[in-house]
């Protein structure tokens, strides 16, 4: 009886952590060793992350505050929209290479498994509505007969879909998901869609690299609720001391204006640290 109970508990533990995004990592892919460099902070980030350069600047500031040397690794990245394979590769990277993974979303109902822990957010960055047509001063000016674009599977898209679904059927926008932000910009410019809902750091980067994006304006999205993505650091749950040190460093960098200064370098709008009052 005791054996069956133990087995059932074990089974429950297994299924609780099971998700579609993971097929399970064969144990031989995971290093079973300890790193012994006490003065180095191994920093990883998603190679396709939208704010990677910003994250590196923040990581350098965190390391400096902890009297550590930040060593950057390529990390990983590049997943289908289903997230297939993400958690497997994250587990491999965090076990074999990384002390911390920068640029991870801090949110309720976090999708990360129990072996991972998140820091408090070091920055909160908003989603914005960008348009070209000068007649549009807010979302309310855009007729529902026009289409809108959203960044595929983004938090901004989620909030917009939820709001849109709450409208009477005849007053809902047709929305198209885009994975290619340059393509979405082009479609706003050529009039195929009236506007696009993107993460502000993405728009900031587009404005530097894509001349068509420079012509876009940000207009208020109300009554769609404001969407902020809070960004933090992922660590292994067992690294409890490191976690408390990182949290304290983030607090200090927010308080002394360092994060705000880095945000200004990158033309990011948003809130240093945790936008507690944001959505």
């Amino acid at each position: 009886m005791v054996r069956w109970l133990a087995a059932a508990v074990l089974g429950l533990a297994v299924i609780t952590s099971a998700r579609a995004q993971s097929y399970g990592v064969p144990s031989e892919l995971l290093k079973n060793t300890r790193r012994i460099e006490g003065d180095t902070l191994h920093v990883c980030s998603d190679a396709t992350g939208k704010i990677r350069a910003f994250d590196h600047a923040v990581a350098n500031a965190i390391a400096e505050m902890l009297f550590l040397r930040a060593e950057f690794h390529e990390g990983f990245g590049g997943y289908p929209t289903s997230g297939d394979g993400f958690l497997d590769e994250l587990q491999i990277a965090m076990t074999n290479t990384c002390d911390i993974m920068m640029g991870m979303t801090v949110q309720e109902n976090s999708p990360f498994p129990e072996w991972a822990a998140l820091s408090r957010p070091y920055v909160s960055l908003p989603y914005v509505l960008a348009v070209k047509d000068e007649a549009y001063m807010s979302l309310a000016d855009i007729p529902v007969t026009r289409k809108l674009g959203t960044a595929l599977s983004s938090m901004g898209e989620r909030v917009f879909i939820t709001w849109n679904q709450q409208q009477p059927e005849g007053k809902r926008y047709t929305r198209l998901p885009y994975a290619d932000m340059d393509l979405m910009t082009k479609r706003v410019t050529d009039g195929s869609i009236a506007g696009m809902i993107v993460w502000q750091p993405v728009l900031a980067a587009l404005r530097k690299s894509n001349p068509e994006a420079a012509a876009l304006r940000i207009i208020p999205m109300a009554p769609v609720p404001e969407t902020m993505t809070r960004v933090g650091v992922l660590m292994k749950a067992r690294d409890t001391f490191l976690r408390s040190q990182i949290d304290q460093a983030i607090d200090a960098l927010v308080a002394d204006g360092s994060i705000a200064a880095i945000m200004a370098q990158f033309s990011y709008e948003g809130v240093p640290g945790d936008a507690r009052n944001a959505q």
Binding site: W4, A7, A8, L10, G11, V14, I15, A20, Q21, Y23, G24, P26, S27, E28, L29, D46, A47, T48, G49, K50, I51, E74, G77, G78, Y79, P80, T81, S82, G83, G85, F86, L87, E89, L90, G103, M104, T105, Q107, S110, P111, F112, L125, A151, L152, S153, S154, M155, E157, R158, T162, Q165, T174, R175, L176, P177, A179, D180, W199, T229, V231
Partner: protein, 587 residues
């Protein structure tokens, strides 16, 4: 002193030189003959030339030395560890006593099928994938299906979207071709089909952001690699209904439609048949396609082998919202009834486990039959129109629905086998359900992954055993349960039916089992080192029949392992093959 060293080297060198020709002289490769078009059309019963044994995808062998009476005398003759770790879905191919074994990361080994001696190894040099392509690295560790044999060549599809053609006698590269841009996300995970002097292949990676609007089945010239045609499974300008089925979503905003299993081929009709997977994003709420059926996702498509033009299609699951894709094996069956030959296409094409029969000349729906517990299809009309359970279509982000089967199946890549002896289709299945919730559970801030969340796999209410080996009797007018073998551990391998009246299949509990085709009685079983994976295959060398059983790391074993906690799963090091034959001295 120097002299002694030189002498020793000389002796060693002579020994090596002497050994090499001796080994070469005895090699079974010396007698290897080309796999001609005639052989492909009519495979000798001693060989296993295809993923599923023949163009029909039946998974049937005409060998009968191992049969209901003799199977109890099976004994291990040799075993071999595979060249790499990773999820194990391989299918050994055998011709002229040479076994070709593909493993993860596009490694191929040639082995003497009688003795288990290694003849050569090919290791594909994959690009050092940049960190931004972790998905490809992940896919490379779960190579699916098989390689193909043609002439004196071995044809391989690779994780970096290449066709690689090897010399069968040496493993040297004859030629290779970059088919699609892996840097966009394209990757091969299923093996090719050789038909009409063409290499027909299907690409994966179609859910990756960079591959928007295009997922292909392609034909390349077998000799030159020149592309002859390609068919896009999510954008067909020749069929307005296809475009309309995506609502207002233009091709550049569509994803999915991956053909996840190697197709079948009817030389007489000149048609090749492929299954197509789910749409992306999974939930219509997010993909923006409204109530559209999103063709050709979850469909069978019949393509003209010479032109790649669509002859017909049939959609098994419209409006998929649950990642219950329908890409699995399409099996060709001819049955004569009252003097008329019926050309059927049978399949359990999708994760929801519903069996279908179509007329493969026209695509006309003939019948369907439910197997495992499912709740996503509410009704199928006599004309074949499939109605989904609209209560299970999420209407809000964050709204969970409880769908059966689960995202892990029901049915998965493990292929069923059809026996012409019993006119029965034997299918490995799993009873499972899960919650499906459209959500943006962001991992990396601002990045587009994780649009649907799946809950833990659980058993359907009232069902206590996750595993089901299902035997469906087949005829042109109906399919029916012949027998069902239920057990706690899930099936994890494809099935193999033989003229010996047996059907082989393996499970997460590490057992390879031989069932009586007529009754489902287990006549023989052997526990091995890891969950049974890939496809058991049989062949004959020097008048003796062999059975080869792949084992290894299995996502099908772990997806609902909570349903059989008494069966511990081993680590991932076990990828191996085990080869059995009859003990001639027995009795």
């Amino acid at each position: 002193m120097n002299f002694d060293i030189r002498k020793n080297f000389l002796v060693a060198s002579i020994a090596l030189i002497a050994f090499a020709p001796a080994a070469s002289a005895q090699s079974v490769l010396d007698d290897y003959t080309p796999v001609t078009a005639e052989l492909l059309a009519n495979p000798p019963k001693s060989d296993w030339l295809f993923w599923r044994g023949s163009y029909t995808n039946q998974g049937f062998s005409h060998l009968d030395q191992i049969n209901k009476e003799t199977v109890k005398n099976l004994e291990l003759v040799w075993a071999w560890p595979m060249a790499d770790v990773g999820i194990q879905e391989t299918v050994p191919l055998v011709h002229d006593g040479v076994m070709f074994l593909q493993t993860s990361n596009a490694i191929v080994e040639a082995l003497d099928a009688k003795t288990g001696d290694l003849l050569w190894t090919y290791r594909h040099v994959l690009p050092e994938l940049p960190a931004s392509w972790s998905y490809q690295a992940n896919q490379a560790r779960r190579q699916k299906a098989s390689i193909a044999l043609a002439g004196d060549k071995v044809v391989l599809t690779t994780p970096d979207a290449k066709l690689v053609v090897l010399e069968a006698k040496t493993g040297k590269v004859a030629w290779e071709k970059q088919v699609l841009d892996w840097q966009k996300g394209y990757s091969y995970t299923v093996g090719p089909l050789i038909a009409d002097n063409k290499i027909i292949s299907a690409i994966s990676g179609c859910s990756i952001a960079g591959t928007a609007g295009a997922c292909y089945i392609m034909a390349h010239d077998l000799e030159t690699g020149e592309e002859i045609w390609r068919f896009n499974t999510i954008d067909d300008p020749d069929n307005p209904k296809q475009g309309e089925s995506w609502g207002e979503v233009p091709p550049e905003n569509r994803w999915g439609g991956t053909p996840w299993a190697t197709g079948s081929y009817d030389p007489e009709l000149g048609l090749t048949f492929w299954g197509v997977g789910m749409p992306g994003p999974y939930a219509e709420l997010i993909r923006g396609s409204g109530k559209g059926s999103v063709l050709y996702t979850n469909s069978t498509i019949a393509l003209d082998v010479k032109t790649g033009k669509l002859k017909w299609y049939y959609q098994h699951l419209p409006r998929d919202n649950w990642d219950l894709d329908s890409p699995f094996e399409r099996v060709l069956v001819d049955q004569e009834v009252d003097g008329k030959v019926h050309k059927l296409l049978i399949s359990v094409p999708g994760k929801n486990g519903i069996a279908f029969a179509l007329d493969r000349e026209t695509g006309k729906y003939l019948w369907s039959k439910e197997t495992v517990k499912q709740n996503v299809v509410s009704k199928i009309d006599p004309d074949g129109t499939v109605h989904i359970n609209e209560d299970l279509v999420p209407t809000a982000v964050g709204q969970p629905v409880f769908a059966c089967t689960s995202v892990s199946g029901g049915k998965l890549w493990q292929a069923g086998a059809y026996s012409p002896l019993t006119k029965t289709f034997y299918v490995p299945l799993t009873e499972a359900c899960n919650e499906v919730t459209p959500t943006q559970s962001e991992f990396t801030a601002g990045n587009a992954v994780g649009s649907v969340k799946f809950g833990p796999r659980v058993l359907p209410e009232g069902i206590k055993e996750a595993g089901l080996f299902e035997a469906l009797s087949i005829n042109p007018t109906q399919g029916d349960h012949k027998w069902q073998h239920r057990q706690r551990p899930t099936p994890t391998s494809s099935m193999l039916a033989t003229a010996g009246g047996l059907v082989f299949g393996g499970d997460a509990g590490r057992y390879i089992k031989a069932f009586d085709q007529e009754t489902g009685e287990v006549l023989w079983q052997q526990r091995l080192n890891a969950p049974i994976g890939g496809s058991p295959v049989t062949y004959e060398v020097d008048g003796e029949q062999y059975l080869v059983v792949p084992t290894g790391f299995s996502n099908s074993a772990s997806s609902i392992s909570s349903a059989f906690p008494e069966v511990p799963l081993p680590n991932g090091n076990g990828n191996s093959i085990f080869v059995f034959k009859l003990n001639q001295d027995a009795e």
